[in-house]
Amino acid sequence: MSEKPVTRPLLSLDTWAVLLSLALALFVRFGVIKSVSW
């Protein structure tokens, strides 16, 4: 019987959240996102 492959997340949810936030922060810092209204 072939062994079932174990699927592990490439990165944790926390790490994805950090990466997205840092990307957004860079976009803001370098003027790609100029302002965000609320």
């Binding site: 062994e3 492959p5 174990v6 699927t7 592990r8 997340p9 490439l10 990165l11 944790s12 949810l13 926390d14 790490t15 994805w16 959240a17 950090v18 997205l20 936030s21 840092l22 957004l24 922060a25 803001v28 810092r29 996102i33 100029k34 302002s35 965000v36 209204s37 609320w38």
Partner: protein, 392 residues
């Protein structure tokens, strides 16, 4: 054994369950879109209603308390989830609310100067340590008094004194608790978290707590990060900010608590073989349990602080000032954080299942509820004391 890489399973928290009960099938990125759109629609509906009520009452000179969009978003979510129910197509995307919560917290770092974090974070950490010791002892005694099993008692104690579901899941692995105990503890903590959303702001207003004191109290006493953030934001935007700060301090301690429990259970010979092996390298064990978003929050706050430093006062840091954000940029980041929280609050409502409140056993719920009331009272007394001494 071959290992494949994949995106993290975002459905892990919808519906909340023990880690081993994760459904088999995986979600594609495209599969997340309907649920994320639903989060946005529900959250935006909350914002729209808040704005509409404010405009109407102002135009007609009616005195009406401002009800934050947070409450509307949560109520709309609860109504949808408990009447028509949440169709399967939306569930993977709705489960991303945990992801938006963490992104929102990291971006909220832009609204804190590092000095504030060190001061309030230090006070919060000291309060967390005292509250933690008292609540852990009380919950353990309560669990024994009500005849709950040692593992269920431990899970309830950790869930209510550290940080809710993530602490329970982390401890479950360390003490090798079974899924039934884990699911019961998670259900009890989530049910109590939902109740705290409606009780905490009422208590805060009746005691006339300041935004800072209330925020720190909510962050210290409400278990789940999403509910603590919402309970704070329901009071005021400023209170929400401080609730996140206090809750983040609690979250940062999760690794140490799980490590202590793992060592205690291993000494009794009750830990799993996998935990025994992990304990050989304690630093790596701590790192694996440490919530990484805390580091992101600190980094954004550091960059926010660098941009506001006066080069005359801090000449040695002047060379790094270019890394920092300007005031309009900080405002943009703060608003991005608000949008991320809008999705989170919609998710909190959509994942609250009122039937689960009554489905679980009465004893674990009673132990959890009594413990929560005691912890809320202890932390309230601590925050009131700290407010007098440090003027929070």
């Amino acid at each position: 054994m071959s290992v494949q890489s994949a995106l993290p399973d975002l459905r892990e928290s919808y519906p909340p369950h023990a880690p081993h009960a994760v459904p088999e099938q995986k979600t594609s990125l495209l599969g997340l879109v309907p649920g994320i759109l639903l989060l946005f629609v529900v959250g935006y509906a909350g914002k729209f209603v808040e704005h509409a009520i404010n405009t109407y009452t102002k135009a007609h000179h009616i005195t009406f308390p401002n009800i934050e969009y947070v409450l509307w978003a949560i109520v709309f979510g609860i109504v949808i989830a408990n009447t028509v129910g949440l169709p399967k197509v939306f569930r993977p995307g709705v489960a991303t609310y945990e992801f938006w919560l963490k992104a929102g917290i990291i971006l909220l770092g832009a609204r804190f100067l590092l000095g504030d974090i060190l001061k309030l974070g230090g006070i919060s950490l000291a309060l967390v340590a005292v509250a933690f010791a008292l609540s852990l002892a009380f919950m353990t005694w309560l669990g024994r008094a009500f005849g709950l099993g040692a593992k269920l008692t431990t899970l309830l104690a950790v869930g209510s004194s550290v940080c809710g579901v993530s602490a329970i899941i982390a401890t479950q692995g360390a003490i090798d608790a079974d899924e039934r105990d884990t699911s019961t503890a998670i259900a009890a903590i989530l049910a109590l978290g939902a109740l705290s959303l409606f009780t905490f702001p009422l208590i805060g207003h009746s005691l006339h707590l300041s935004d800072h004191a209330y925020g720190i109290w909510a962050g210290l006493a409400v278990d789940n990060t999403a509910e603590a953030t919402a309970a704070g934001a329901l009071y005021s935007s400023e209170a929400g900010k401080y609730a996140v700060l206090a809750k983040t301090c609690r979250n940062a301690l999760i690794g140490f608590v799980v490590l202590a429990y793992a060592i205690a259970w291993a000494r009794k010979g009750l830990a799993s073989a996998a935990t025994e092996k992990q304990l050989q390298n304690k630093a790596s064990f701590l790192w694996s349990k440490f919530p990484k978003f805390v580091l992101g929050f600190l980094l954004i706050s550091l960059l926010a602080t660098l941009g506001t430093l006066d080069p005359k006062l801090y000449p040695h840091l002047a060379n790094y000032a270019f890394l920092g954000f300007s005031k309009p940029q900080l405002a943009a980041l703060g608003n991005l954080s608000r949008w991320a929280f809008l999705l989170t609050f919609a998710g909190v409502g959509l994942r609250t299942n009122l039937r689960d409140l009554f489905k679980q056993g009465a004893r674990p719920f009673l132990v959890g509820a009594l413990g929560e009331v005691a912890i809320a009272a202890i932390t309230l007394a601590l925050v009131a004391g700290a407010d007098r001494v440090f003027h929070l």
